[in-house]
Amino acid sequence: MGEEAKPKYIPDPNSAKAKLGKIAKEHYDNLWIAKEKGEMIGWCASNFPQEIFQTLGLTVCYPENQAAAIAARGGGGRLCEVAEGEGYSNDICAYARISIAYSQVKDIEEQNMPQPDYLLCCNNICNCMIKWYENLAKELNIPMILIDIPFNPDYKVSKEEIAYVKGQFLDAIRQLEEITGKKWSDEKFEEIMKISNRTSKAWLEATSFCKYNPSPLNGFDLMNHMAVAVCARGTVEAAEAFELLAKEYEESVKNGTSTFRAEEKHRIMFEGIACWPHLRFTATELKSRGINLVATIYADAFGFIYDDFDGLIEAYCNVPNAINLEHARDKRTAIVKNNKVEGLLVHVNRSCKLWSGFMYEMSRQIAEECNVPLSTFDGDQADPRNFSEAQYETRVQALTEIMEANKGVR
């Protein structure tokens, strides 16, 4: 979705891009196959510990991925209005509105997926997630499992938090065994942890190529590949595809090529979720000015590296939206410095109170610490109505002018 509308281009089937696309597509295909076989389907939060259901061999899908896909294909506004017709305020997260609307509409052209038999919720990304899934569970009258990972006000994860999450983790396994009739195997769990680590490492390795100047990739690519990091982290195919992606980037660096098809004049960090309904516009505005996105916290969001069970839990406690301002700031500062970022473009996302609620202060601190200019814009991850092209254009232009001035271009 990062490219221009050109004659339909078919990627080399042996390329990482094709493989990742295939995994994403098969993810949905497999859901329907499972549903037809009579298997139970779960709807799952993006940062729910996937090791649990991978070990149990359950089939789940991701409403957040679906909502993003629907929004990117132009259905966000329509489904938001369906939810609003039910009484949901238009101030509620647009992913939630789209997902709740989909659970009622059930068949749309943008992206279908099977209806759920149970729900797996984890609030390490936000508490809004709890309310969204509560309402789904009530409406659909199906069981819901919540792994509560509270926002951590401290820099380090405490042993008390690990114990609390571990208790829930074990309870969730027991409940899921009851709901689905599947059995837990410690051996399988070990294996899944290995694969997940391998996938995460490969994902982090691939995203790390943004640090090269120029970068071998258009940063918007990551927002697409992320779907696979979410839905297939525990599979060997995903691990292999990301390893291949990293290899391709390595080649590109050697050959001086890039998926960013313009001269890379400026390097920025894009903060926040993409504006899916306006993805082309937001990306093109940057590309036309030679601005490449070389840093995003997304990379970290789905890279879970750990050695053991406690480490696994700690990794899920340390996802970007569950950590305090200082920890979140330092993670970003490190990326900005490491990837030689020259400006920050911050999406103040109407849908995400948690991601936007202390972003002003945090981005000020990052900009100051790294001595880079900062520009914010108002937008929304999935509701097309909360975005203004004119405002975005002006803000990006201003950022560009400062970056140019800093380089003494003018």
Partner: protein, 374 residues
């Protein structure tokens, strides 16, 4: 009657002058700990000899806080931060902010930089709270608060003292429930009076507040029940304390017969039971709390709880005062709306926030609602 009005006036005075109350306690060399919504463990603070001083923000124009919060964060958070920046809490030793909703998480993080003079103490609660591991985590949260407050204020914590404070708080809960039960039938208690009684609780040491409530109850018992036909309403939401809103309820002959307001009765529904230690008692209390938009409940029990409130109190309908940008309440509204449609309970949705100047739309809506029920 004069006595009753005098006592009510005292509640109004306290509710309207939190800063005077703070000064009053500071002058007595009390150390003050500001308590942000929602469910801050006041008992713990009280037991350490500190004065828990509640805040739910105030109706005001937001200026300074805009440098920290985008416009779509609720005005409760915005105005608490604004008050902090403007020095309304100066003299307090610390502020305790629980993180039960996304905006509260952000309030805590912003506070550290916006109001560096008053230290932020986080209170982290579990959502899977009624489990062994959940209760352990709740206790760990309290212990964190204790450790921070010991460091900041030099006061110490003793479990025995917490038992005593818990008794004071349990007695206060009891008094508040009794007041609500009594007040519903007395047309002399207006919506504004009722709110002042609840709101003042945050600005007084709790045994003092209980004493005042008991005086009020005595005076009420001596008051004759007037035979006035009122429209009986249950209110629900985060808060409904705007002067204009309360006046509108009164103008339209509305008697609040029960509430499910976070700032009001949600605070007082559950007492601390008996348990091994005082801290366990407190954790047990949190474990059994429910029917609240920021406490996880897969059964959405709050909706049926509301309909029970309507039945028990013979109410004519529900006013759902939705705090603008409060997503937990926005999600719950839809479930409440459905159950009200099923049970044919009239439900009025009004949006409120702390920066509202024009109440005309609310006035029209409330008037229409009362015409519909009357």
């Amino acid at each position: 009657m004069a006595a009753l009005q005098d006592i009510l006036q005292e509640f109004h005075r306290i509710a309207a002058s939190p800063q005077e109350q703070m000064k009053h306690y500071l002058a007595q060399n009390k150390k003050i700990v500001v308590c942000s919504p929602v469910y801050t463990p006041e008992e713990v603070i009280h037991s350490m000899g500190l004065l828990p001083f509640g805040t739910w923000g105030t109706d005001m124009e937001i200026k300074e806080a805009k440098a920290y919060f985008p416009a779509f964060i609720c005005s409760v958070m915005q105005s608490i931060l604004e008050l902090g920046i403007k020095g309304a809490f100066d003299g307090a030793s610390a502020i305790v902010i629980p993180s039960l909703c996304d905006s509260l998480k952000c309030l805590g993080q912003n506070w550290k930089y916006a109001v560096p003079g008053i230290e932020f103490v986080p209170m982290t609660y579990p959502q899977n709270r009624n489990t062994t591991y959940g209760k352990e985590f709740t206790k760990a949260g309290y212990q964190r608060v204790i450790a921070d407050l010991e460091r900041i204020t030099g006061e110490t914590f003793e479990d025995e003292k917490l038992h005593k404070s818990i008794e004071i708080y349990n007695a206060h809960n009891q008094a508040m429930r009794e007041f609500s039960e009594y007040a519903k039938n007395y047309s002399v208690i207006t919506a504004a009076d009722r709110n002042a009684v609840f709101k003042s609780a945050f600005f007084l040491e709790k045994s003092e507040h209980t004493a005042l409530i008991n005086q009020l109850l005595e005076a009420l018992k001596e008051t004759e029940l007037a035979d006035v036909k009122k429209i009986r309403i249950v209110t629900s939401g985060i808060l409904a304390d705007a002067k204009e809103l309360l006046a509108i309820l009164n103008d339209n002959n509305i008697q609040v017969v029960a509430d499910d307001i976070a700032q009001e009765s949600r605070q007082y529904r559950v007492d601390c039971p008996i348990a091994a230690t005082a801290l366990d008692r407190l954790a047990e209390k949190f474990a059994t709390m429910n029917n609240c938009s920021v406490l996880y409940d897969v059964n959405k029990g709050r909706a049926s709880y509301l309909t029970e409130l309507v039945q028990e109190n013979k109410a004519d309908g529900i006013i759902y005062a939705l705090t603008k940008f409060c997503d937990p309440e926005e999600f719950d509204y839809v479930v409440v709306k459905k159950i009200c449609e099923e049970k044919e309970i009239p439900l009025l949705l009004i949006e409120v926030d702390r920066q509202m100047v024009n109440y005309e739309q609310v006035r029209t809506a409330v008037q229409t609602f009362s015409e519909m029920l009357g």
